[in-house]
Symmetry: C2
Subunit: 116 residues, 2 copies
């Protein structure tokens, strides 16, 4: 029964687009991730996709428009909607997805779920 | 398709222990709340209870021990576990609970869900 300090968890790794699971909630993984550069266009047919920016700035490209997020800003990509996260500089993000959701939307290209 | 700025949402109200719903995710309400003083002992038999401190400090009393949270710290109270949030000074929290979950664990005493 300990608090989960997000900055301390983020300080334990340096790679990008490799989420680390730091907790669980109602069948979802609570994950922190460092992002830089463009990710890949993808969608999740079975789940919404939760983003909260902890540090830096993140752009979520959509097929129609885009969403710009800074620290303390949150966005939920609705289930089934194609999106592509992009960050010009490194940004730190809290992600929430159901346990086992492939981060690319495709199990063959997804990052492994690593618990820290 | 707009970002949800948590600080701006929190600036729209001043009362305590009255969560405002600012978004939705996989059947859950994403809520911000200002807390000060003790809440009530309660539990949720059907759901975990997600807390992320955005500003200030929060203590979550448990029947065995307690968890102290500062800014950027998160804690998930497991389903069915009795807990009582307490804050000596005002703190700002991101909460996630399934839509319709009574914040006190009891519909007769729960705060209304208000969407902002």
């Amino acid at each position: 029964m300990k608090p989960i300090n997000l900055a301390k968890k983020l300080a334990t790794f340096t790679d990008h687009y490799k989420p680390r699971t730091v907790g669980q909630f109602n069948g979802h993984d609570l994950m922190v991730v460092k992002v830089k550069g463009p990710f890949t266009w993808h969608k999740h047919d079975d789940t919404d996709d939760f983003f909260l920016v902890l540090k830096g700035h993140l752009t979520i490209l959509l097929r129609e428009g885009q969403v710009e997020l800074g620290p303390g800003e949150m966005f939920v990509v609705p289930k089934g909607l194609e999106h592509c996260p992009v960050a010009d500089e490194e940004a730190h993000i809290l992600l929430i997805e159901p346990q086992g959701t492939p981060n690319t939307g495709d199990r063959s290209t997804a990052a492994a779920r690593v618990v820290i």
